[in-house]
Symmetry: C2
Subunit: 403 residues, 2 copies
């Protein structure tokens, strides 16, 4: 039993036309017009094919093959980052829909539900729909959303959602039989390894810090090199040390200095202050803890070398999420049955699956991203790989449905 790759492609292409931008991408920020159109397209397509449909209090859109048993969710999201790619999220939703279409008429011991989660990317809150469904949506996340309160309020209004009722989208864990998500890798590892299917073992944890190096602003002409307390130089010294440490001592982990702000910030003034945006990620708790220690030690050492002060402000903290080992084994086994090469890897990016993993057995299937490119119009995956991913999703769902 296989999904119909050609029919799936027609649907994928139809969806990619909604909010299409030059270069092959889509611009469908959460609860904007293009996103709402894409969601409507999904419900209409499901209904036209004879599937039941449903929209919950968090705006999650679903197509269902109902049965007596608990619900096995298959899903992803239809929103995109601004000027993003057409595969990120959309592939998982279309594949879930086609798993249901393939299984129409089959008698299953679970309800199968293809779900399009609200606001995964975080232009408003991030994982809004999946966290609401998992009962993990906090009032804090709504009060200080990443995209700002005004954008959230306007988006909910546009989508006809009520802020006070979002959390009633929660499903009791005993009603769930599991969660599966097919997604593009958004990195180069599968392509590099020449592997068709990634078995995602975990979502990495991340921590971020604002590091403020404080030296002395000084006249760039009259202050000799040895009299300077150059905050920018200390920040540069830290950036190099952080890079070296991660590459040398933390294989598979990443650390990023995404932004630096120097003040006063003029050609002829030695920088007095450097504000550094540091983020690092690791697939497990112990690694993340060790990485934090190494990064902050390196920052302190750089401040010491540069004779500047250092302030450390924690900014963000996301714990790693491990996926269900038996689901990982199942994905691996069904892929092997289909003659596909697999590789286990953690996901460096966040996904709806991490919210679901807290309440039900969850797993993720990755397919290769060409050149590792993502969050850009040029994001692409060979169609054959997409179909392979959908078939692994179908087979894994069948195994999970049975027990």
């Amino acid at each position: 039993m296989r999904v119909d790759g050609n029919r799936m492609r027609e649907d994928f292409d139809a969806l990619a036309r909604i909010g299409a931008v030059e270069g092959g991408g889509v611009d469908r920020p959460s609860l904007g017009d293009a996103h709402l159109s894409a969601r409507r397209w999904f419900l209409d397509r499901a209904a036209a094919a004879g599937l039941e449909t449903r929209v919950d209090a968090a705006g999650n859109h679903s197509a269902l093959l109902p049965a007596e048993g608990p619900t096995l969710l298959l899903g992803s999201h239809l929103d995109s980052v601004p000027n993003g790619g057409r595969f990120d999220g959309a592939l998982g939703v279309v594949a879930a829909l086609h798993v249901l279409l393939t299984l129409q008429g089959a008698r299953l011991p679970v309800t199968l539900e293809a779900i399009d989660f609200t606001d995964e990317e975080g232009t408003l809150v991030g994982l809004l729909g999946s966290e609401a469904l998992a009962g993990a949506l906090t009032p804090e996340a709504l009060l200080a959303p990443r995209g700002g309160r005004d954008a959230l309020v306007a988006g909910l209004e546009r989508a006809g959602l009520r802020e006070g009722e979002l959390s009633s989208a929660r499903r009791a864990p005993e009603t769930l039989a599991g969660y599966l998500e097919l997604h593009v890798e958004q990195g180069p590892l599968l392509e590099r390894a020449g592997v068709e299917i990634g078995v995602v073992t975990a979502i990495v944890g991340a921590r971020s810090f604002a590091l403020v190096f404080r030296g002395s602003a000084a006249h760039a002409g009259t202050t000799p090199m040895d009299a300077r307390r150059d905050a920018g130089l200390a920040a540069a010294s830290f950036a190099l040390a952080a890079h070296e440490i991660v590459v040398r001592d933390f294989p598979g982990c990443v650390a990023t200095i995404g932004d630096v702000r120097l003040a006063p910030g003029a050609y002829n003034v030695v920088p007095g202050t450097a504000r550094v945006a540091l983020e690092f990620r690791s697939g497990d708790h112990v690694g993340l803890e060790r990485l934090e220690g190494a990064m902050l030690d390196a920052a302190r050492a750089a401040a010491g070398r540069g004779r500047v002060e250092l302030e450390i402000e924690p900014v963000g903290r996301w714990e790693p999420t491990a996926f269900d080992p038996s689901v990982c084994d199942t994905i691996e086994a069904v892929a092997a049955d289909l003659g596909l090469r697999t590789m286990r890897l953690p996901s460096g990016a966040g996904h709806d699956a991490q919210a679901l993993a807290g309440v039900t057995r969850a797993g993720m299937i990755f397919v290769p991203s060409i050149g590792g490119l993502s969050h850009a119009p040029g994001e692409s995956t060979a169609w054959e790989d997409c179909v392979n991913g959908a078939n692994v999703l179908l087979r894994t769902a069948l195994v999970l449905a049975r027990g």
Copy 2:
């Protein structure tokens, strides 16, 4: 013959009250109300003491002791950077005034002129008055002034000056007998050496460049360290290399990275672009040329190491100005006569003297800045050092007046 240090202090303090800010500084941006008040105070004080006064077409304010011969100019400026110090510029003008007051009644073979130049600091144009007097003010400087056209037009209007007539402030070189300027060092070298008088040999030349490192913006979670083309990391690598090269190979020179802009500039995105503001200074042409070569080679090497592209945009170019060797010798000799220790040094900052050096024999006298601090309210110089500087100015003027 010596200046009256107490009377000079009264005048210095009276001037420091005009535009005074907390912490002992002054806020007298060029042609603003406080600056115009300070200039009026200077003319009134000179006239009250029986000196002739004059304001030229560039707004330069002068007090004169007229004689038959050419004019020996002694001066500096009364404008300040925003929230600046009370010594920078003002000391030189007050000392010049007191040299004239000390020599009132003496028969000299030159006209002595204490001059307060317009807009030295560059909140509008920079060296506006001194360059106009030297015939070096260009239309380009007025069309694209550092502080913007609107501020320049408004400032000239407030001061009653006509843009089209500024250049008629030019003096023919044969009418000049020389130029001397007393100024605070604005750096730590005299204080470190325990020396009362700095003999300024040159104004350093400076060049500035915008260096744009172009890599690839990428997802901070899904892009492995070895797959990144991190423009910020390349910029950091350049910053460290530039520092090391100047310290090791260019003693007495400085190089500064005063600003860095990363794009897109978010915690979770590897920087695709880093725009670096680089400036470096050297006291002589050959050194400046070598320094430029070393800096740009280091930038290219850093770009190569980081597998990113590099664009080099020249921004500013100021040639070094050497002062008249015989004037330097004279300053050194009269200081020694007064029992003062001297040290030769280049000035890392620009001064009106550099404009004058193009048309007449010119020299500068530095006195120590406490802690090297300048362009800040806490800028300070021991009053005894100020009086020493004024006496060296007086004696040097007398030697130059005679031949």
